[in-house]
Symmetry: D2
Subunit: 460 residues, 4 copies
Amino acid sequence: MNKKLWGGRFSTRTDPLVEQYTSSIAVDYRLARYDVEGSIAHAKMLGRCRIISAAESRTLVGALRRILQRIAAGRWKPDPSAEDIHTQIQQALQRLVGPVAKKLHTARSRNDQVCLDVRLYCRDAVERLTRAIRAAQSSLVAFGWANRQVIIPGYTHLQRAQPVLLAHHLLAYVEMLQRDADRLTGARARIDVLPLGSGALAGTSLPIDRAYVAKLLHFARVSANSMDAVSDRDFALELLAVLSSLAVHLSRLAEDLILWTTEEFGILALDDAVATGSSLMPQKKNPDVLELIRGQAGLIIGRETAFLTMLKGLPLSYNRDMQWDKRLLFEAVEESLSALEVLARLLRRVAVQHGQLPRLMASDALCATDLAEYLVARGVAFAEAHAAVGRLVAYAEGRRRRLGQLRVHELQRFSPRFDRAALALLNPATSVARKRSAGSTNPRLVHAALVRWQRKLKNQ
Amino acid sequence: MNKKLWGGRFSTRTDPLVEQYTSSIAVDYRLARYDVEGSIAHAKMLGRCRIISAAESRTLVGALRRILQRIAAGRWKPDPSAEDIHTQIQQALQRLVGPVAKKLHTARSRNDQVCLDVRLYCRDAVERLTRAIRAAQSSLVAFGWANRQVIIPGYTHLQRAQPVLLAHHLLAYVEMLQRDADRLTGARARIDVLPLGSGALAGTSLPIDRAYVAKLLHFARVSANSMDAVSDRDFALELLAVLSSLAVHLSRLAEDLILWTTEEFGILALDDAVATGSSLMPQKKNPDVLELIRGQAGLIIGRETAFLTMLKGLPLSYNRDMQWDKRLLFEAVEESLSALEVLARLLRRVAVQHGQLPRLMASDALCATDLAEYLVARGVAFAEAHAAVGRLVAYAEGRRRRLGQLRVHELQRFSPRFDRAALALLNPATSVARKRSAGSTNPRLVHAALVRWQRKLKNQ
Amino acid sequence: MNKKLWGGRFSTRTDPLVEQYTSSIAVDYRLARYDVEGSIAHAKMLGRCRIISAAESRTLVGALRRILQRIAAGRWKPDPSAEDIHTQIQQALQRLVGPVAKKLHTARSRNDQVCLDVRLYCRDAVERLTRAIRAAQSSLVAFGWANRQVIIPGYTHLQRAQPVLLAHHLLAYVEMLQRDADRLTGARARIDVLPLGSGALAGTSLPIDRAYVAKLLHFARVSANSMDAVSDRDFALELLAVLSSLAVHLSRLAEDLILWTTEEFGILALDDAVATGSSLMPQKKNPDVLELIRGQAGLIIGRETAFLTMLKGLPLSYNRDMQWDKRLLFEAVEESLSALEVLARLLRRVAVQHGQLPRLMASDALCATDLAEYLVARGVAFAEAHAAVGRLVAYAEGRRRRLGQLRVHELQRFSPRFDRAALALLNPATSVARKRSAGSTNPRLVHAALVRWQRKLKNQ
Amino acid sequence: MNKKLWGGRFSTRTDPLVEQYTSSIAVDYRLARYDVEGSIAHAKMLGRCRIISAAESRTLVGALRRILQRIAAGRWKPDPSAEDIHTQIQQALQRLVGPVAKKLHTARSRNDQVCLDVRLYCRDAVERLTRAIRAAQSSLVAFGWANRQVIIPGYTHLQRAQPVLLAHHLLAYVEMLQRDADRLTGARARIDVLPLGSGALAGTSLPIDRAYVAKLLHFARVSANSMDAVSDRDFALELLAVLSSLAVHLSRLAEDLILWTTEEFGILALDDAVATGSSLMPQKKNPDVLELIRGQAGLIIGRETAFLTMLKGLPLSYNRDMQWDKRLLFEAVEESLSALEVLARLLRRVAVQHGQLPRLMASDALCATDLAEYLVARGVAFAEAHAAVGRLVAYAEGRRRRLGQLRVHELQRFSPRFDRAALALLNPATSVARKRSAGSTNPRLVHAALVRWQRKLKNQ
């Protein structure tokens, strides 16, 4: 039995090295389920349109369903000798139903078939990723809620800037992840197009019904141009672009958590269960998980780069270069899911080191901006207020005193509008409480945001 | 006059090398207009909320409008000695209105200010890009319409596959570009968020009205989290991701056109006006424009990689690394616009080489699939039909004859279902006419698609 | 038995999800052999320096050798429950020799151990890659030699430019590959540094002898700075950079071969054994192997990007992000070897389509530059000669005549220096034969280059 | 006067949009000097080989020298109306010497000419970069020397690991930069090849003397294959790969310095002259320079990606896509030089915050490895020693005591081999002093390394 889906015109056996090099089964076995689902819809349509007989259609559909059950039950193994997953399934079908199996590939090319499979995969991936993002968001919100009173230094340039609520900081990541989820929703609309029926590139002369197949497979639309349909990988590329963005977000969160669990920052401690040790240094407790997440951003960015570079400059329509799409896509999806999952777990095993916070909040220069805004509220032009407080900070530093240790008359050297009340501002709790702008770190607003997210994440 | 927006606490003059290295004016001067528009809205709000007096607000707004006019009139030059565009505009304002200028920066940080500017830039860029994409689509449709009868070989693997209409091939690119336009629309929703009012990272204690500013500047929403707002560059990243996709599409179109204008393919000829010559070889006429477009994909992909890598692993909130965002963004937008514009122009200066087409269509193996589908319609299982025609092709090749030169009895050696009508299929015009699936290269369907696109592009 | 190399200070069991996420055995099992070789040298040194007893050293070395034999014999399987390959080997050792196994990791950290393993891997990889490059070069030279008389159009901008020998074109790729080989040699010098003995980051207080270990493992030098040694992945990065360059070269060669095997160019034909077919179109014979090679460039470039991005911004010294190095490195090396191997094979299964060459060489504008150089030799300034021939070409084109069909008096309208001899130049064989500059396509020079390469490749 | 170096065969004027899009003068004006130097050598050779007369040669050389002087004196401005720098110089020459200028481009194409120019540029760039690297190394060594007694925590995973000398940490970067310098030297050998004389792709029939030109321009070799010579950009690509590696090194150094200048780490303080402030927060002093250097790694990595992607899949020989090479190359070289220069400056303006060091070194778990090695020296198997000390650390942590506060009998609960001397090890100075392995942080070894580098950097 010729194991290939082609070969009539070929007189020499394919070189084994070539067979091995062009084989994709080690990667595309993940498409098994989607391939069979697509074939079931195709076989139904062929019967309905009388391209094959109703009985033939039923036979094919029945056998394909048995294969699908095997796949679902985990009793399906990639066959390394098959050229690809489509060939392997075709062979299994042939073993089950004999010659009628040869009718399944009617009015279909592997070009449109594989496009369909990858789209079905992507549709699933979007759902799984969306759920995993939501789980990570929930962990962030839960961690923020449990520590909703905690104030930490907010940083810009990694220099202490202004006091913020820990929960506010965490919610920034909830927002980022939400944008990724929103982009996934956008991408889904462009995934939701049936390519099957485009043939190899030109369509078919057989009387197929593409709309019916789309309905069976729950696609919103059929593709409008057959040449585009078989060479389009934009939907996968868009998914990768979202995963790059997600990976960058996770890398930034990982960086923050790595910093916070250093002895120097000391804001958080990792539970032993989510830390690792050193083979040489007995005292070490390392945030390996977070470092791996941070580093993984490199891998995912690299995959998107690879995908773009692979596509660059290809003529229409299908070219085999595109076979690499699946490897890049599958690995990026799987890695993203792992990273989200392990991060959500880790966030449930970190604890705020309350004892360390006073040390971190001690430098009351964190509240210097509050002083400047205080002057503004008393009529000083902002640029002048900024300059006055800047000089005040330099003055205190030069004397190795904290701002709160200065006397009112010393403050007044820098601006006559200072008074005793100004000194009361030099307090992180006061600082956050006085914030009033929408989106600020004001505790009331942050509390409301936490509640809003809890509700939103529950309802999805 | 201290030219910086900061400096109160600093005792030493900044090192000139540092000033030069950190200066961004050579890049961000492009933000001038957006910066002033944002400041006008901010100044109005400060007055309305009584953070500054109504008179002060009017003074500031008036002066800013004069600056805006200068910018609009092209009478604004970047000042290389300014740290950045914000500083230069602040200085200009100070020259116009004196000390009251110092009140403008109240309740604002450069962190949220520059985010606003870049969002305004991106909003504009989306519009300009959308228009440019539409223009390129129109050129493709017009070219397809003018040559709507032309049949060319469709390729897969750059091997002749099946006859297709030239217009069908061109419409594949119209579809691709439309996906880019759709993604731009998606990106626009995420651009459409006002960051101003987030302060440096924590919000402000001054009674600002962010919703009012959003209304003045036509933003759909205000940002929900101040720390996220000042460190978020996702909107620019998403724009770059779309531009990468667009660049890949243009590189593929360029590749097709480069191939088609070779002597070997000979499908198209470039007009002298859009071709270039060689300094050594007098006979050369080169498609430099198309090669530059193809190569530019590398640049734009590189910028997206750069952007992602720059963001990777940054802790919250703002870090100066992000200054590089603008350079990457501006250049990618400008290059994309140039490429679209020059391509649209070029498409109006290419001509089909009708004389060459017969040679290209001569190999009637292009219609082999039609033979196989013919057998299927007569009850042969597709896999058998495929194998039979494959052997038939090998048979003809071995005898150096074209399929159309074979006799019916020869065909029947490969399948008894062949008859005289089969030989009539070996004709490109018949081949495309017999296609009937939705999205196929059937001339009626392609005609309808051309009309649909003409209408759609006109109405936008 | 605690399966980890650390854990004394840990009180909670590691979360299974964390164990799974941080496990690297699925990737680093490829290091097994190198890990054991390194351990043998280390154990010898520990004994020689009396850090462990001579008997202990012998016991360890003996057991490690047995493990090495198992690996060499292919009887070693990755144990998915081990954290990494180092742990798995440590466990195997413990099973073989009991408690004394616990002495092996003395004065060693996994940080310097894994660096050693990867360097040993890279050293091997350089050798294997160099051999594979040489094999590909040999295939190119052999193919060129077999067709050393064949003249084809040389292209710039994919437009026919001047006649060149096919062998000259192929030798261009031999040169490119040689640069990659040279860069590998350069990289090897930087791989050739022993990191072992650097401890986790600071060195050790135990009296080890690094020079002795370097000698046993044939390293040219020991690393000079322990912190650098454990965080340095430059040697792997440099290897990846060479592989990117190599991948680009192969992608260009693949592109040329894909073009040459189109019906339009028709210079080459692939043997059936190295081509593939279509599941729909019976007549197709596709160069899938070449397309996969071309596309693979994207993957390898993506890996280098990933590697760089992963390293970017990491503080000293070791960070777990670096674990991803191995995956990127191993896959890039393996893919490069596959591509070289399959390409060398393919080059032995292509044939020049001699019958097609006359058609390709027919357009005698290919020799226009020869006409211009002829005028220069007769005293015309080159710029004038170029312009004259340019106009001549346009004149002939306008009349749809080939240059060779023009009369001398017509030529003389464009330059009085033309005479009958000029017309004799319009011949590809004459064109290449008249070339005389070093490195040109002159047949004598190309012949000499082929011979030189044959000799060089044989002697290596 | 036709401003183009081609055009004879063209009948229509080039579209202005096309002229603008294909113009490269805005980028390649940087090649002016190299272009003229190359032309001088070419003109000399043309005369010597009697392709032009001796008098013509002298005229051309004389005029070119005058142009060179203008360039050297900074009196040369890019002419935006010229197609490229070669055209502009050709025009200037024509203005100076009239018709004889038309003879300069004999036996030369812009293809080989621009290759020459870029190689000359790269040769210079290698020198400038090598000097700049050396200057940065000198700053590191000087800073290390000035603080050669300072002990800081060494980190792995950003967790405190073992005490190290600050100078040891800095020398790790000196090693990294040295590898970049070494790779530059390697790259130089591949730059050092004369492409001129390769013509457009095939060489020339005129009797040129390439070896003479190589000698005049100090090239080690002439290129061996004309088709390779005009399409080879490997030398530039290799340079970019080194710059990526360099950028990663600088980004890591920047990260370390950013961390060290946080209030949390507090190891270093930046002088005001190399720090910047905030427009909102008066107290801020930000390490913008370091963040820009860190972020720049993204840009440079992006450029290498762009370069590779641009080259991927291009057929031989020259294609205009390659024009983008210069932009990528020039910008990467210039940015790298800036980053090195500003970093060297900054390193002279940072100060160790000696007052903060005791706090950082307080946690004596930094010396836990010394305890384990102590046990090893007393006969305990390393794995047992590691476990014992690990439990000891957990014990002390559980009681919130430092190791140094434990009593000997408490230590002995974990290993009977502990004695009073063990407690004396819990001291950073002792820890570094006891290190003895080559490349370790032992002060004597670090001192020797500093001296060795001082000498080496002086002598270069």
